[in-house]
């Protein structure tokens, strides 16, 4: 079997979300992983430590999560698709360099298997408490992409999509997986190579002398040269012009750069955002949910339909950029929106903002357990009154 074939285990498997995520990364072409042990994401690192050397690629355990994301950014600039995986405390440590990845437009993937916080919190217990941090954790104005798998199959599929988005938009992409999805075991089908869409970053088409490392082309994204290919370019976390040189005192350059970093995601959000509606066509009440909560929500919606209530589910596959239009669209047609989350009120704020006048019922949940379908059903019934 060739090295490349060993990277893609085409066939039917029984895997956990963490392991599927690792296999998704390999399928996407990830050839560098740097990480630090942390519950409940360690299985991703362990799988990568075993799998990457089998395909001639590099796994390294760094001294902390700050170093892990720094190494990932370095590997990406040296031309590899690179990933790290962590959980809340490690995700917090990575925030400064997430900003660096945004500023230097580094394609890379971060997996956050969400556990209970704040602080050390509940390491072995699931949550959805990092979804706002994914968007706002680093300082300054910026946009990233975040995806939320709700099944083990999706942990595989969305990790590939995360790499594709990272390569397309030169942005860090986060796979925000609650620890229940991370740790549960399900069937996963790994497709053949022909059936997996792979995107690779666009390289410069101009000779090195003419190369401007941060001059955007299609989709506001600049083509990316790789270290060692003769382009001799400079990248910095400082505000920089299209030539890569620092411009720390130019109002014009700061505006132009920061606006573009945000707009390349905002203006392409229709291409990036994915949601899935179930029984939404004639729905009078919608549940908006993501990750493991969307499965309880689906069950609740089915029960409601059995009771003659016109309920539907809008599942958010993309969390960031927030699926504003999808939510605004359903808000026009329903009386109430129910939002169950495994936190004390995070993405519901975005739903409320997008829903405008449509009332939103929030169902918080702290601690390992997601909502029971009955709890969501009760809220659906409450919304009909």
């Amino acid at each position: 079997m060739s090295t490349e074939n060993r990277a893609l285990l085409t066939g039917k498997h029984f895997l956990s979300g963490d392991l599927a995520c690792a296999e998704g990364a390999l399928a996407a072409g990830c050839r560098f992983f740097a990480g630090y042990p942390i519950t409940p994401a360690t299985e991703i690192a362990e799988r990568m430590a075993r799998r990457l050397p089998q395909i001639g690629a590099t796994y390294i355990q760094m001294e902390d999560e700050i170093a892990s994301i720094a190494a990932v950014i370095g590997a990406s600039y040296a031309g590899l698709k690179a990933m790290t995986a962590t959980s809340g405390p490690g995700f917090s440590l990575m925030q400064e360099n997430i900003g660096l990845a945004v500023m230097t437009e580094t394609p890379c993937v971060l997996v956050d298997v969400m556990r209970g916080g704040p602080s050390t919190g509940q390491p072995t217990m699931a949550s959805q408490q990092d979804v706002m941090q994914a968007k706002w954790g680093s300082h300054g104005d910026y946009e990233i992409i975040a995806l939320a798998p709700s099944s083990v199959q999706e942990a595989f599929d969305l990790t590939i999509e995360a790499f594709n988005c990272a390569e397309t938009y030169r942005v860090p992409v986060m796979v925000m997986m609650d620890a229940i999805v991370g740790h549960m075991w399900e069937k996963v089908i790994i497709p053949s190579e022909d059936n997996i869409k792979i995107v690779n970053r666009k390289k410069p088409s101009v000779p090195p002398k003419e190369y401007m490392p941060f001059k955007p082309e299609q989709n506001l994204v600049p083509p990316m040269a790789v270290f060692g290919e003769g382009y001799r370019f400079h990248a910095t976390g400082l505000t920089h012009d299209e030539d890569g040189g620092p411009r720390t005192e130019s109002i014009r350059v700061q505006r132009k750069l920061v606006q573009r970093l945000c707009d390349k995601i905002r203006e392409n959000s229709d291409k990036i955002v994915r949601t899935k509606g179930t029984m939404m066509e004639d729905a009078e009440i919608a549940v908006v949910a993501y990750g493991i909560e969307s499965r309880a929500a689906l069950s609740a919606v089915r029960k409601a339909r059995a009771d003659g209530i016109k309920a539907g589910l809008l599942r958010l596959v993309t969390l960031w950029p927030f699926p504003e239009e999808s939510v605004a669209e359903i808000a026009k047609n329903v009386k109430t929106i129910v939002v169950p989350e495994m936190n004390y009120g995070q993405l519901v704020r975005e739903v409320e903002r997008a829903a405008k006048a449509t009332p939103v019922t929030f169902l918080p949940k702290l601690g390992e357990e997601p909502h029971r379908p009955e709890e969501i059903l009760e809220a659906i019934k409450g919304g009909t009154m």
Partner: protein
């Protein structure tokens, strides 16, 4: 008619980056000159070198060198460089940064990269303080020295950087001052040709900030201090190489051979690949 003659090191400097931020008399320019001279004397392929720096005055050096370069967040050039080196071991990866960046906020990364023996070169401009932010105390500020954050005198013991590097596992360790330009250049050349984690400390004057707060004077006064206090003590015990007002031990302290992380990784990958191939 006069013809314009290019400086022999111009080719090593990025055209757009020549307006540097450094103060008059700063030691960083000497370090840059030494580094460029080392590249020239080795006839180094500028397409195959990556210069990485952190935050601080010397951190701007990456932008001045005509090679692929990256200016990271504060304290993180070493793990970034580790990622670059492992992703493409063909590249020569050099970190040039300051004492605060490498040994305060980034200290953990330094000891672990040295322990792993990743084949990167770390050059530290040690000016005994945080120059860019206005002269605060740092991990190499000597005892009793007054800075803006130690107005009553520093009560923290400073790092002896060559001892720290040697103890952490570096295969090449040297210290010079900016007075020792030729010897510094030779050490940079040696480090560039050596396999493994190499460390060079460059004691550099900061006349505008540190010189003023300590009343140590201008660049010439610093040079006179370096001349008077430096003692070349090649391969002496790094533990005894503390820098004091009276004595600056300089020279090469470590030059040993040890398998690099990349070599061990490559060997491991070949082993695993063979085993995996055999198993299918």
């Amino acid at each position: 008619m006069q013809t314009e003659i290019a400086h022999p090191l111009d080719v090593y400097l990025r055209e757009t980056g020549i307006h540097n931020i450094w103060c008059t008399g700063c030691g960083n320019g000497i370090l840059l000159n030494s580094f460029a001279t080392a590249l020239k004397e080795l006839d180094f392929d500028l397409d195959k070198i990556v210069v990485v720096s952190g935050i601080g005055c010397i951190g701007r050096i990456a932008g001045y060198i005509n090679a692929d370069s990256f200016h990271t967040t504060h304290g993180r050039p070493i793990p970034f460089a580790t990622g670059v080196k492992l992703a493409n071991p063909e590249l020569k990866v050099v970190v040039i940064s300051g004492d605060g960046d490498l040994f305060a906020i980034g200290g953990n990364h330094f000891i672990h990269a040295a322990r792993r023996n990743v084949d990167i070169k770390v050059i530290c401009a040690n000016n005994f303080n945080y120059g860019m932010t206005g002269g605060q105390q740092g991990p190499t500020t000597p005892l009793n020295v007054s800075t803006v954050t130690t107005p009553y005198g520093n009560i923290e013991h400073p790092f002896n950087l060559v001892h720290l590097a040697a103890g952490s596992g570096a295969v090449y360790v040297a210290r010079w001052t900016t007075l020792h330009v030729r010897r510094l250049t030779e050490s940079i050349k040696k480090a560039l040709q050596k396999q493994g984690f190499s460390f060079i400390e460059v004691i550099a004057q900061c006349p505008e900030i540190y010189g003023k707060s300590t009343k140590m004077g201008n660049a010439i006064d610093f040079m006179n201090w370096f001349k008077k206090a430096s003692e070349v003590q090649t391969f002496s015990d790094p533990a005894k190489a503390e820098v004091t007002r009276e004595r600056i031990p300089v020279g090469e302290f470590v030059d040993i051979e040890k398998p690099t992380y990349e070599k061990l990784l490559r060997e491991k990958i070949v082993q695993v690949e063979n085993r995996t191939r055999g198993g299918t």
